[in-house]
């Protein structure tokens, strides 16, 4: 087990460096081909060359290799890597804020959002899956099957905007006109976006939207898995032993059925981050997703490289944890 973990951790190094280099190369190419992003800060008015140069230097776009098309800028890359790993310096954005500070400000919001999304999708998804799986072919089963197809087929940016307009604005406005509804529901939960006055309540709907797509997949996975296991030999044996139904379903069936679901939830953190890019923008949540979107639009290389590298690390760690969790769920799996 220990050796396995060390081997996996060592694999992180080329993955992270590779990602960083790709990002570095792509953002450098973007600057080489589409010009100095600092010039765009001044818009239609041409800045005096001295000022343009001073600002360019200050923001870290002064390396001459950024003017040679196709140059991979190895020198700049080494500076960046050593900055990140030796000095924990991820650079600054166009507004001269440290990337680490930007991330530190944004992470709490994204974590809360992800947590809400994952709890929502795991709790509701697994419950619906078990409900449907135990009664294959029944009304419950069909209801879950149809409603999940419906949710899966709606892209998250459509769902997000529809929910914001109809639940947050239209339905919320009706609620806000009613005196008897508590403020935390009318103004917090049903707010059409994140609201600093209700930092948790106003994140619930965005979190649910973010979790909804994965919820459908979770429900379907659980359903199939339960249906398969309920006919397995060990379940029949358990029943034959005369175990209580609760124990047969709860321990023997469910525990074994959850292995694919846990894998999925682990992998899903990566795609939930991608979904967060969309939901955070729609619901104005000041998290990592909104940060990356904004940085990608303006081509702020230090922010893109810094944030995405951190995300890669997070996803690698989560995947490792998920792999280790298998061993806990299924004693047959061993690592060495």
């Amino acid at each position: 087990m220990g050796r396995y973990v060390i081997r996996r951790l060592l694999q992180f190094i080329p993955t992270v460096l590779g990602t960083m280099f790709l990002l570095h190369y792509m953002t450098s190419l973007a600057i080489q081909f589409s010009g100095n992003p600092v010039r765009a800060l001044f818009g239609d008015r041409t800045p005096p060359p001295a000022l343009l140069q001073a600002v360019t230097e200050r923001l870290g776009y002064g390396d001459p290799c950024l003017e040679q098309k196709g140059n991979p800028c190895f020198g700049l890359f080494l500076d960046r890597v050593s900055g990140v790993f030796l000095h924990f310096d991820f650079g600054i954005n166009m507004r001269r804020q440290e990337v680490t500070e930007l991330v530190a400000n944004a992470v709490p919001f994204t974590l809360k959002l992800l947590l809400i999304a994952i709890i929502f999708e795991a709790a509701v998804g697994i419950a619906a899956g078990v409900w449907a799986g135990l009664r294959g072919g029944s009304f419950a089963d069909n209801l879950v099957k149809i409603s999940t197809v419906f949710v899966i087929s709606v892209p998250i940016f459509v769902l997000g905007v529809v929910v914001r307009e109809f639940v947050g604005v239209k339905f919320g406005n009706v609620l806000r006109d009613q005196e008897w509804i508590p403020d935390v529901i009318a103004y917090g939960f049903f707010s059409p976006g994140f609201k600093p006055d209700y930092p948790f309540a106003s994140l619930l709907i965005p979190g649910m939207v973010l979790g909804s797509v994965a919820l459908a997949t979770t429900a379907r996975l659980t359903r199939t898995s339960i249906m398969e296991n309920i006919r397995a030999d060990f379940v029949r044996t358990a029943r034959a032993k005369g175990l209580a139904n609760k124990r047969v379903i709860g321990v023997h069936t469910l525990r074994n059925s959850l292995i694919p679901v846990i894998t999925y939830l682990g992998v899903d953190i990566g795609s939930a981050m991608a979904g967060a890019v969309v939901t955070e923008t729609i619901f104005n949540v000041p998290g990592i997703g909104r940060l990356v979107t904004a940085a990608a639009r303006t081509g702020e290389s230090p922010v893109i490289i810094g944030v995405v590298t951190m995300l890669v690390l997070v996803i690698l760690l989560v995947n490792l944890l998920v792999d280790l969790l298998y061993a806990v769920l299924d004693p047959r799996i061993r690592y060495e």
Partner: protein
């Protein structure tokens, strides 16, 4: 999305530089209803007066800080704010006298030093302050900035030869003199821009902290610190001696996306929203009718003509091109009426602006054809129309191309694939091969700001390379005229030269629009500074 961002960025730099102060000249003093005004905002770039040059920053800085002058809300005229007087004999050496009794929030006095130190800080090259550019008229500006000897790395630019501008001299605590490198009658109008606001010593000693927790001298002070990307809260400042702000506090909610801001407005979470998503404009007009404020603004959109290209050297060709365009139909078809057609080169709200200066800015098919024939017809290949990518310029530029083709029979193609930085660099390097779209926002509320930076020989934003001795002469005379009225008359003559020579084809003025909620009693829009939150009262 990128398009929207760029548009906002351009509009921001443009409208923003439009000098400012939030004089609530509305006068009635009125009832003090208090309450907190909740406004839509996007994340400011900087809250330091020397560095904030975008619209979101300026909207906050203007409530936190005050400068020498402010602008009348209705007429845009310059009124003294912290200055007692700004006078000059020769329009070159200006003497500024300050009113006594103003302080910063930390107790430091607002004196001559506070202005001198702020302006020097902004101008000093190594500080890389965005508003340093505005100090360029002051004598000694060249000594505090320096250029890289070889143009681009690897050698670093040498340190400037001086740390302070020689043109700024303190006379006594409340008096200082400003020497300009060239006479400029309009100097007092320029100092209402945020770049000229004073800063406390404590602020400059630790500019980063001051950026997060500003030490202002204005009617409001910050409550807590700037909560990045979330909100900024201002409350009335006790240290302010002038006319107090109307609301007790101002809450700037920071949105990254204008659509989510509009949803928040619809849900009653905001009192004022000064940007309306283009796609929702009709909806907003229908839903909020009388609570929608709309006015032709001052950001100028034009199609420049590259005079370094043979085909555009004859002014009759330029006139013919302009005559071929029906601006109103483009505004109606492409922009849902969110722009106003331009009939001159100066914003209609400006002192000295005249209607219909540009006689070639009305569609006239016969005249256009005649002029082009007189000039010997179109000699080039396809007319290449340039715009930067992803900023929503394709549609209207195509309409321009279609109209030119329809009237003059010149085939055209669009060149709209360059990103903004590269597009600007191409323009800076004079490599544009055909008419190009660009915009301009004023730096200060003085007519000259629309003329010399864009059309003066060798001026920094003269992308057409227009050079006309008569124009230059008139501008120079205007700069050193004894009074503003005399100056305006000369500038108007210079504008007439442009109307005949047509180095650029004036297209539209962007309309400014804002919506406000039922909680708002009177909404104040300053002709120069835009939405004035400190003067807007709540019910």
């Amino acid at each position: 999305m990128r398009g929207k961002f760029l548009k906002v960025a351009v509009a921001a730099t443009a409208t923003a530089m439009l000098a400012t102060a939030c004089g609530s000249g509305s006068g009635d003093g009125g009832s003090d209803a208090g309450g907190t005004l909740r406004v839509y905002a996007s994340e400011p770039a900087f809250l330091l007066p020397s560095n904030g040059n975008d619209e979101p920053s300026i909207y906050v800085i203007r409530q936190l800080y005050r400068g020498l002058v402010k602008y009348n809300a209705e007429t845009g005229e310059v009124e003294n704010d912290l200055a007692d007087s700004i006078e000059s004999e020769d329009q070159k050496l200006w003497t500024v006298k300050l009113k006594d009794g103003y302080t910063f929030d930390n107790g430091e006095p607002v004196d001559a030093d506070s202005f001198i130190r702020s302006w020097n800080y902004a101008a000093y090259g190594p500080n890389a302050q965005n508003n340093g550019y505005f100090m360029k008229r002051i004598a000694g500006f060249g000594d505090v900035t320096s250029e890289d000897p070889d143009g681009e790395g690897p050698e670093k630019a040498p340190a400037p030869t001086a740390e302070t501008m020689s043109g700024l001299k303190k006379v006594d605590d409340l008096t200082f003199t400003v020497e300009l490198s060239e006479p400029f009658t309009g100097f007092p109008t320029t100092v209402g821009y945020v770049g000229f606001f004073p800063m406390a010593q404590a602020c400059i000693d630790d500019a980063d902290t001051c950026n997060e927790t500003p030490i202002g001298n204005g009617p409001y002070k910050i409550d807590g610190t700037w909560e990045r990307n979330v909100e900024i809260n201002l409350v009335r400042s006790d240290s302010w001696n002038g006319e107090p702000g109307k609301p007790d506090g101002i809450n700037y909610r920071l949105f990254a996306d204008v659509d989510s801001g509009y949803a928040a407005f619809q849900a009653g979470e905001l009192d004022v929203m000064y940007t309306i998503p283009p796609a929702r404009f009709k909806d907003a007009k229908a839903s909020y009718g009388d609570r929608l404020y709309e006015q032709a603004g001052d950001s100028f959109n034009y199609v420049g003509l590259p005079l370094y290209n043979e085909n555009f050297k004859d002014k009759r060709v330029r006139q013919a091109l302009s005559l071929a365009i029906d601006r109103q139909s483009i505004v109606d078809a492409v922009f849902d009426g969110r722009y106003a057609p331009a009939t001159g080169f100066v914003a209609p709200s400006y002192q000295g602006a005249r209607e219909g200066v540009c006689t070639y800015c009305q569609k006239d098919v016969e005249k256009a054809k005649a002029l082009l024939a007189e000039a010997g017809g179109w000699k080039g290949d396809k007319l290449v129309l340039w715009a930067n990518a992803g900023a929503g310029h394709e549609a209207w530029l195509q309409a321009v191309g279609d109209q030119i083709k329809g009237v003059l029979g010149i085939d055209y193609e669009l060149k709209v694939n360059l990103q903004f930085p590269e597009y600007l660099e191409t323009a800076d390097n004079e490599q544009l091969t055909g008419p190009f779209r660009l915009g301009w926002g004023p730096d200060y509320p003085y007519l000259e700001t629309y003329l010399s930076p864009i059309y003066g020989t060798g001026a920094h934003s003269n992308h057409t390379t227009f050079s006309n001795p008569e124009f230059d002469k008139l501008m120079k005379q205007g700069d050193s005229a004894a009074t503003i009225d005399e100056a305006l008359a000369l500038y108007q003559q210079a504008e007439d030269v442009l109307a005949e020579e047509l180095p650029v084809i004036p297209m539209f003025w962007r309309k400014e629009a804002a919506i406000y909620s039922e909680n708002v009693d009177t909404f104040v829009w300053n002709q120069v500074a835009g939405a004035d939150y400190g003067a807007t009262s709540l019910k």
